[in-house]
C-alpha cells in the first residue's frame, strides 16, 4: 500500500507550539501531575497563559510506567482526605474531560499474610470507615469468592489470612488519562511544550523570574515543579534542598490472556500487586530497588522475587510468560507521603514525593497544587503535606499503607 492510500492522520489532541517569551506560570514536567495541575490552573483559577515544559515526550515518565492502581484506603486522616478526594475526582473526570479512559472500579484487595498484617488491616478498615472511605475486611473464603484464581490454601509459605477490600478502587488507562488532560489543557490555551528540558532558573534575589531551557529562556511569574524522580535535580538548580530519595521501581506485563482476574490484588508482605488490563495482559509491580538510582531500570532479582510471589498466590500464572519489564524513577520521602506546597524560593512551588503511588493521586495533586500556585498558599487538603512537616515533626507516616504496594 502506498502512502497515498493510507488513511488520514487522526486529529491531534493538542498543538505542539513553540515556547513564548513569557508566561504567567510554567509547570516543569509534562506527566500526569503536570498536566492535571495545568488543567486545574486553567479551569479553576482562570490562568490560561501557562506552559507545561516536558524534557521528553508527554507522559513518557512514570505516567507511562505505573501499574494504574487507584485506591484511597490510607491509614491517616490527612492521607485518607487527599486520596479519597482524588478518588472522587476520578469518578467524575471521564465526564468532565469528555474522554472515556476506562476507569474501572473493580475493587482493590490488600492481602494479609501474618497476624501482624491482620491486625494492621483491621485497624486500617476501621480508620477508613471513620473517614468515609469504603473499606471492609474479608476472610479467606470471601477473598476466594471475589477472586477465584487466588490460592487460599495453607500449604504455601505465607497463606492468605484475609484481606481488606475497597470496592470503589480500581484501575484506569494511564496513557488515555494523560491524553484526556492534555486535550482539555490545550483547548483552554495551555501550551504543552515537549522536548524542552529545563537547564536552570533565573532569579531576582530569592525570587524566581524565569526558566532556562534547551529551547531558550522563558520569563514567568510562577514555577511549579512536577518532576517526580528528578525533583532533586531541579531543586539543586533552584538553590534549595528537598528531602526525597529517587529509587528505581519496576513493573512488568505478561502476554495477553482471556479475562481471569476480576479485581486488583496487592500484597505488601510477599511484595507483588496484580491486575489484568482491559486488553488482557497481567500487570504486576513489586517493591522499589533498595538503592538510589536514576537509571529507569532495576535489578533482576526484584523481578524474580515478585514472580515467585505471584505464582504462589496465583498458581495459574505459572504458565504465563513475561512479555516485558521496565523501570521508572520514584521520588520517595521518609514518611512515604507526598510533598505539595511552597519552597524556600519565592514564587516556586513543588509537588513531589508521591513515591510509588503517584498515579492514583493525579487529580488531587493537580487540584491542590494548582490552588497552591494560584493563591500562593496551600489548599486545605495539601496543607499537612508541606515540607515544613519535617521540621515540626508532624509526619504522616504511611509506610504501612504505602511503602511497598501501589
Amino acid at each position: 500500500m502506498s502512502a497515498d492510500h493510507l488513511p488520514e492522520h487522526p486529529e491531534f489532541l493538542w498543538r505542539n507550539p513553540d515556547p513564548k517569551k513569557s508566561y504567567d506560570a510554567v509547570i516543569v514536567g509534562g506527566g500526569g501531575h503536570g498536566l492535571a495541575t495545568a488543567y486545574f490552573l486553567a479551569k479553576n483559577h482562570g490562568m490560561r497563559n501557562i506552559a507545561i515544559l516536558e524534557k521528553g515526550w508527554l507522559a513518557g515518565g512514570n505516567m507511562a510506567r505505573n501499574t494504574t492502581i487507584i485506591r484511597s484506603n490510607y491509614l491517616w486522616d490527612e492521607s485518607a482526605a487527599i486520596y479519597e478526594h482524588s478518588l472522587k475526582l476520578w469518578e467524575i473526570l471521564p465526564e468532565e474531560l469528555d474522554y472515556d479512559f476506562l476507569f474501572s472500579q473493580r475493587g482493590v484487595m490488600n492481602l494479609a499474610h501474618t497476624l501482624g498484617d491482620v491486625r494492621e488491616s483491621m485497624r486500617r478498615v476501621g480508620a477508613n470507615q471513620l473517614n468515609g472511605v469504603d473499606a471492609e475486611w474479608l476472610d479467606p473464603k470471601q477473598v476466594k469468592e471475589l477472586c477465584p484464581i487466588l490460592n487460599i490454601n495453607d500449604n504455601i509459605r505465607y497463606p492468605v489470612m484475609g484481606a481488606t477490600y475497597q470496592p470503589r478502587a480500581g484501575i484506569a488507562k494511564h496513557d488515555h488519562v494523560a491524553w484526556a488532560f492534555a486535550r482539555k489543557c490545550d483547548e483552554m490555551g495551555v501550551d504543552i511544550i515537549q522536548n524542552c528540558e529545563v537547564t536552570g532558573f533565573i532569579k531576582d534575589g530569592n525570587k524566581v523570574t524565569g526558566v532556562k531551557t534547551t529551547r531558550g529562556n522563558i520569563n514567568t511569574e510562577k514555577v511549579g515543579l512536577c518532576a517526580a524522580g528528578h525533583t532533586s535535580v531541579l531543586a539543586e538548580m533552584a538553590g534549595f534542598r528537598i528531602p526525597i530519595q529517587s529509587h528505581p521501581l519496576q513493573a512488568l506485563v505478561s502476554e495477553l490472556h482471556e479475562p481471569v482476574h476480576p479485581t486488583v490484588v496487592m500484597s505488601n508482605h510477599v511484595h507483588v500487586y496484580v491486575s489484568q488490563a482491559h486488553k488482557g495482559e497481567l500487570v504486576m509491580g513489586a517493591g522499589v530497588d533498595s538503592y538510589n538510582g536514576y537509571g529507569q531500570r532495576g535489578s533482576f532479582h526484584v523481578i524474580e522475587e515478585q514472580m515467585a510471589a505471584a505464582v504462589e498466590l496465583f498458581p495459574i500464572f505459572a504458565r504465563a510468560h513475561v512479555l516485558r519489564t521496565w523501570g521508572g524513577i520514584v521520588d520517595t520521602t521518609m514518611d512515604a507521603s507526598p510533598i505539595v506546597g511552597t519552597t524556600p524560593v519565592e514564587n516556586m512551588f513543588v509537588n513531589c514525593g508521591w513515591g510509588t503511588g503517584g498515579f492514583k493521586g493525579t487529580p488531587a495533586a493537580g487540584l491542590t497544587f494548582a490552588h497552591t500556585i494560584a493563591t500562593g498558599s496551600p489548599h486545605t487538603l495539601n496543607k499537612p503535606f508541606g515540607m515544613d512537616r519535617f521540621e515540626t515533626g508532624h509526619l504522616i507516616d504511611e509506610h504501612g499503607a504505602a511503602a511497598v504496594a501501589h
Binding site: P243, S246, N292, G295, S299, H301, E391
Partner: protein, 121 residues
C-alpha cells in the same frame, strides 16, 4: 543483578548486601544546640545525587561489615569501594580529571575534611 566487591570478601552478588543510603553523614557534634531545622536536615534530608554518589552498604550475608562505595546513580557502575573509617577517596575529582586528559594529574592523597573525619558508622 549488580556485582559488588566487598572489601573483606571480594566480588559478591547484590542480593548479599543491604543498602544504607548516603555515606559520611556525621552525627551532630552538639545535639543539644541544634535547631529544629538542623535536626530536620540531619534526620530527613539526604543528598539525592544524579551521578557519582558516596553511599553505605552492609554485607549482610557475608562478613556483616559496613563499608562505603562510590557509585554512579545513572549507570549504576561502582567507581570505588572503601572501608568505614577510611577517608573518602577523591574519586569525584579523579574521575572528573580522568575525562579531561590535559588536566590529568598524579593522584593526590585523600584529603581529610571535617565531614569524613568525624564520621560515625
Amino acid at each position: 543483578m549488580l556485582l559488588f566487591t566487598c572489601p573483606n570478601c571480594g566480588p559478591r552478588n547484590e542480593t548479599e548486601f543491604h543498602y544504607g543510603g548516603q555515606a559520611h553523614v556525621a552525627y551532630p557534634e552538639s545535639p543539644g544546640e541544634l535547631s529544629d531545622r538542623e535536626w530536620a536536615e540531619y534526620l530527613f534530608y539526604r543528598e539525592n545525587t544524579k551521578g557519582l554518589f558516596a553511599e553505605r552498604w552492609v554485607h549482610s550475608a557475608g562478613c556483616r561489615k559496613w563499608f562505603n562505595m562510590v557509585r554512579d546513580t545513572v549507570s549504576y557502575e561502582v567507581k570505588a569501594v572503601y572501608r568505614i573509617g577510611e577517608l573518602q577517596p577523591e574519586t569525584l575529582e579523579r574521575i572528573a580529571s580522568a575525562t579531561e586528559p590535559e588536566q590529568a594529574q598524579p593522584l593526590a592523597p585523600a584529603q581529610a575534611n571535617p565531614t569524613t573525619a568525624s564520621e560515625g558508622v
